[in-house]
Amino acid sequence: MSVKNISITPGWEKYMTKEYQDLVERGPYGKQKKVSEMGSFKEVLEEHPMCAGCAMTLFIRLTMVGLPNPEHTVLIGTAGCGRLALTQTSIPFIYGNYGDTNAVASGLKRGLEVRFKDQAKDVVVMAGDGGLADIGFSAVMHSWFRKERFTTIMLDNEVYGNTGGQESGMTERGALLKMAPKGKMFEKMDMMGLAQTAGVAYIARLTPTNPTRVASVVRKAVMIAREVGPTFIQAYTSCNIEYAIPTPKVLDDAREIEAKRYGFTEIISDEAKAYLDSIDTSKKVKK
């Protein structure tokens, strides 16, 4: 849409950081960048303190490329590893208390619809499996039942990564973790099934093995949330620290888990499908 939102007031350029100037001049604003152009445009994500080789980092990076309108997006995150990078983007970020993300996003989205009648504002929650499937579970489910129009992205590393290796509802049965020394005793929660029951308009489960696919799924989810109803992405984003994956093997692991059990699945409602067919998601959607 417009680079106006971020452009620098004339005369103030010299007071702005190099990074900010690069973003205004060579960032993705006003033009939908493709994954194949990565490395040749300034990304909205900056340096951040997440671990070397973290798959969650890669997924977040690709998500930022997939956002259809970064200049009209608000991110909601919470405690957990992902916010360490999410706070280092040039996209407004709100830190919901752990467990509150989807309640905060509901109110925010409704408020933005009242305040900006002529400009669609996209709200995207990005939080961990613990944040969404355990502690924020009821807020997530109710936001879906209420058909709140925003996107929920679960960074599913199947563990509480940020606090040193507790099991979550999304951990696989039998997985050994520092604080599940006998192995987890219960099955991984079926969040896709729950999302379907709650009537989520677009549901996708994937791993970061295919960067173009990640960006395209994110774009679809955000567009459908804008016009149709709640959307949910569940992304396998391994924690190489807690699962002791050597960093050069992180993508081998993702490919293996994808082939063995995670797969790539999309579930889309008829209404969402009809909406997608009516727009060309490969192009920047004018709004």
Binding site: E19, Q21, G39, S40, A52, T57
Partner: protein
């Protein structure tokens, strides 16, 4: 001393595959110089994970990326010094 990714530009520029630029977990760390048709690394952003080495070896099958001691590099590119200015790249960096 620590290891960072280093791209052999002679090998890389034979194709324009750009795969490593899409799989490096860090933003704007493997850059792509459209004029010189090669990828190159902003060494001050590289965390040394070696994911790009596997991508270039196994997926692209070009074997253009090696891990090297940062102190052994000459003329390396540092994002914090130069910023993101593709029109200044032109194959100038090792």
């Amino acid at each position: 001393m620590y290891l960072v990714a280093h791209i052999d530009q002679a090998i890389c520029s034979e194709t324009a595959c750009r795969l490593c630029t899409q799989y490096c977990p860090e933003a704007n760390t493997i850059l792509y110089d459209n004029a010189a048709k090669t990828a190159f690394v902003a060494v001050d952003r590289c965390k040394g994970c070696e994911i790009c080495v596997g991508i270039c070896d196994d997926l692209a099958k070009h074997h253009a990326i090696k891990m090297v001691m940062i102190t052994d590099l000459e003329n390396q590119f540092e994002m914090s010094k130069e910023g993101f200015r593709p029109d200044h790249w032109n194959g100038k960096h090792s």
